[in-house]
């Protein structure tokens, strides 16, 4: 099978959807000839034209407002924000409008839109361009939140997101863009709310999101040399969350570590941890649940400090050993 980068997989998903559905279009800053801040839409304007690959003014409020309106009239807009940090400017449209319209109109109006946006640190883009704010969105009823970690997942999940009749926030981690995996050319979609066991293991469960999936897999490979079998689960979508897969895994391993890049305090790891604590898996826990998350600091510009602000592979290795009481 051919390999695609994550970035190419996202582009392929959009192109395939646009080819088969006239209502799908993309709007965002510099997504036309320039191809978007990270090059995701590069070349698309040549196939689909400026009507469907719409450059917008520099106003996230305007872009998101337009998308909500277009979705309400029956279109299926994909809006791209250059950095997920700018979602704060689109907040009213996403949180107060998009999330609630279907509910408030008793189902008579719906908002089938996807807000795609690069998130996370690691590119030296500093405090205003490197955050992971997915927990904010996951907190709001009416919004779906997707966080793919691989090219294969990105394509399948984005197609499902575009097909979804509800607003979906689609977080693409900047460092994932260049990662590659086998991606089938044909159409496929991955249902939202289905976690993926990225690696099977028996000793400890790691639930990781986005780039942390890759770091956790690296840690797991390292730990395997010491005979520790780590199970790595990627929930892929935070809303809806596949609690069943996580619960079953924790019942098997008796130990849970949640790893995400977002600041630990108030992060989504707390949600996963509490879900397990409330579930039947509680009685299977043989160690306190552990959360690894970013430090409560703005992401620093200095590259070394930037690395230090979020969990590293060795942090994960240490956490596993601590949880297994094997330091």
């Amino acid at each position: 099978m051919r390999e695609l980068t994550y970035l190419e997989a996202v582009r392929e998903a959009m192109s395939q959807e646009m080819r088969q559905n006239e209502d799908v279009f993309i709007l965002g800053e510099d997504i036309g000839v320039y191809g978007g801040a990270f090059g995701v839409t590069r070349g698309m304007i040549e196939e689909f034209g400026p009507e469907r690959i719409r450059n917008t003014p520099i106003s996230e409020a305007a872009i998101s407002g337009t998308a909500v309106g277009a979705a309400l009239t029956g279109m299926r807009p994909i809006l791209e924000l250059q950095f997920s940090d700018f979602i704060t400017i689109a907040m009213d449209n996403m949180v107060n409008q998009a999330a609630k319209i279907r509910y408030m109109y008793g189902g008579k109006g719906k908002v089938p839109m996807v807000l795609r946006t690069p998130a996370g640190s690691g590119t030296g883009a500093a405090a205003q361009h490197s955050q992971s704010l997915e927990a904010w969105m996951a907190h709001v009823p009416g919004l779906k939140v997707v966080q793919p970690s691989t090219a294969y997942d990105a394509k399948g999940l984005l197609k499902a997101a575009i097909d979804d009749d509800n607003p979906v926030i689609f977080y693409e981690h900047k460092l994932c863009y260049k990662t590659k995996s086998d991606v089938p050319e044909e159409q496929y979609s991955i249902p939202l709310g289905k976690a993926d066991v990225k690696r099977a293991g028996t000793d400890v469960t790691i639930v990781a999101t986005a780039i942390m999936v890759h770091k956790s897999l690296e840690a797991a490979a390292e730990l395997e040399k010491e005979g520790i079998q780590v199970e790595v689960i990627d929930p892929r979508t935070l809303v809806p969350l596949d609690t069943e897969t996580i619960i079953q895994s924790v019942k098997k391993t008796s130990r849970l570590i949640v790893v995400h890049e977002a600041v630990k305090r108030g992060g989504f790891g707390g949600e996963i941890a509490s879900t397990i604590a409330e579930s039947e898996a509680f009685d299977y826990l043989d160690a306190p649940i552990k959360r690894l998350g970013g430090k409560a600091v703005p992401i620093p510009y200095n590259p070394e400090l930037e690395k230090a602000a979020i969990p590293t592979v060795s942090d994960i290795v240490a956490a596993v050993k601590e949880t297994l009481n094997r330091q």
């Binding site: 008796s254 009685d283 009481n325």
Partner: protein
């Protein structure tokens, strides 16, 4: 209905008992007379036997917990019966305790002395005790708790391998599998351990193959036909707690604690005066030489100077009843019996077994009794009544290089004799300096109840008896 198990009151001065070990787990079946738990009291360790038959439903206290007398330490009943989660309060507050009728108290003590717990239900109150509130909480993971439930393991017995002793499921599993060892009574286990017999090789005749002592003995027969002696319960040694500064710290508890309290109480309530005199032991030494063989033939024991001094003290006390007294409230009680306490040093303190009616006993009888009581004291096997009722105490440090000392009165007695070593010294005899075996006697007495003159008269009498031991015949 579930029956309470009480902390027994084993002596008139006992206020709390320290739980040393449980022989049963919650859920174990218990037969009447089976040892339930072991306690350390003022002066002894004793196994408390069950007065009831049934299932041990609840244990409220763990090892090293101090439990006030008559507190409920657990329940015995039928499986599944509901008992309180926290220990009900002391059965009858301390004040009430004193108001309890004499017959009841006597009954309690009778039972207690037999090592049997009294079980009454009407005195239960529903206030949790302080001890229970301060008891440390068990740390175990949810998984460990689940496995413990499934395997019917009592978590409190499982050593935890995690941080701060947290119990993990692997600990419970290891415990459960190690516990799959054959079931045996505590006595059978002791005998097996003492004889080095593997319980796995013993066929139990009890219910579900439970091994009794007889089974262990049966298994042992071919190897050695002699009767088994259960291994003595080792005296509890307080666990040293490491400290950063180095050195060890030992908690003041049990016998040591009681000795500390008693000594302080005695020294602070009784004005001690100590008289000393020097005794020429020539004649006593001669007499002992003559009696050694005789007494050894009779009793199997070699008579010691301690026993000869005890005999002399008993005789002298009978001539000086004003020394054989106790202060009770505002009254001086002249004790009719002469019960001589003998201070015995043990590993972690001081025990004073009592030779009752010493004035009515011959030297052989006193020798035999002192030897027996001394051994029992060192083996922590003294019974409460063997330490009760003393009227005067003898404390002998003559085996050390001690000439004289000021002993502390063993209250409620009013006087105590300290005995130093026998040491050859030049003394003047009829104008000539001679070397004589001399010994210093120190008499401490409570000046509240005994005056100097009668104390001096008693000590003089004692000196004369020891210097002319034929007086013992009179």
């Amino acid at each position: 209905m579930a029956k309470e198990i009480f902390m027994p009151k084993l002596s008139s001065t006992m206020e709390v008992g320290t739980l040393l070990q449980w022989f049963k787990k919650e859920g174990d079946s218990v037969e009447v007379g089976e040892p339930l738990f072991e306690i350390m009291t003022d002066k002894i360790n004793i196994e408390v036997e069950s007065y009831e038959e049934g299932i041990l439903l609840k244990k409220y206290f763990e090892e090293d917990d101090e439990v006030p007398i008559n507190h409920i330490v657990g329940y015995i009943g039928e499986a599944g019966e509901q008992v309180p989660e926290t220990p009900p309060g002391e059965s009858g507050a301390a004040k009430e305790q004193e108001e309890v009728s004499d017959s009841r108290q006597a009954q309690t003590e009778d039972l207690a002395e037999q090592g049997i717990t009294e079980t009454t239900s009407e005195e239960v109150e529903n206030e949790p005790t302080e001890t229970a509130e301060t008891a440390e909480k068990l740390r175990a993971t949810p998984a460990a708790r689940r496995v413990a439930r499934e395997e019917s393991v009592t978590l409190a017995e499982v050593p935890g391998s995690g941080p701060n002793g947290r119990i993990h499921q692997i600990d419970v599993m290891a415990f459960a599998s190690s516990n799959a060892a054959p079931k045996a009574t505590p006595l059978a286990k002791k005998v097996a351990e003492a004889e080095g017999i593997d319980l796995n090789a013993v066929t139990g005749t009890g219910s579900q193959g439970k091994i009794y002592r007889a089974d262990v003995e049966g298994a042992k027969q071919p190897a050695s036909p002699s009767a088994p002696t259960p291994a003595p319960t080792p005296a509890p040694t307080p666990a040293p707690t490491p400290v950063a500064a180095g050195g060890k710290r030992v908690k003041l508890e049990g016998i040591r604690k009681v000795v500390a309290q008693r000594m302080l109480q005695s020294k602070t309530t009784a004005p001690h005066v100590t008289l000393t005199t020097e005794v020429d032991m020539t004649e006593t030494i001669q007499l002992r030489k003559k009696l050694l063989g005789l007494i050894e033939q009779q009793t199997g024991f070699r008579v010691s100077y301690t026993e000869m001094i005890m005999k002399a003290v008993a005789t002298s006390l009978s001539l000086h009843p004003s020394i054989n007294v106790t202060l009770e409230g505002n009254e001086i009680v002249y004790r009719e019996e002469i019960n001589l306490g003998l201070a015995v040093a043990v590993d972690d303190g001081l025990l004073v077994p009592v030779v009752k009616n010493a004035n009515q006993k011959g030297l052989s009888a006193i020798t035999a009794e002192c030897k027996r009581l001394g051994k029992a004291a060192r083996d922590s096997k003294l019974k409460p009544d063997e330490m009760a009722g003393g009227t005067f105490t003898v404390s002998n440090l003559g085996m050390y290089a001690i000439d004289a000392f000021t002993p502390v009165i063993n209250q409620p007695e009013s006087a105590i004799l300290g005995v130093g070593r026998i040491n050859e010294k030049p003394v003047g005899v009829n104008g000539v300096i001679e070397l004589r075996p001399m010994m210093v006697l120190s008499l401490s007495f409570d000046h509240r109840v005994i005056n100097g003159a009668p104390a001096a008269a008693f000590l003089t009498e004692l000196k004369e008896v020891l210097e002319q031991p034929f007086k013992l015949l009179v």
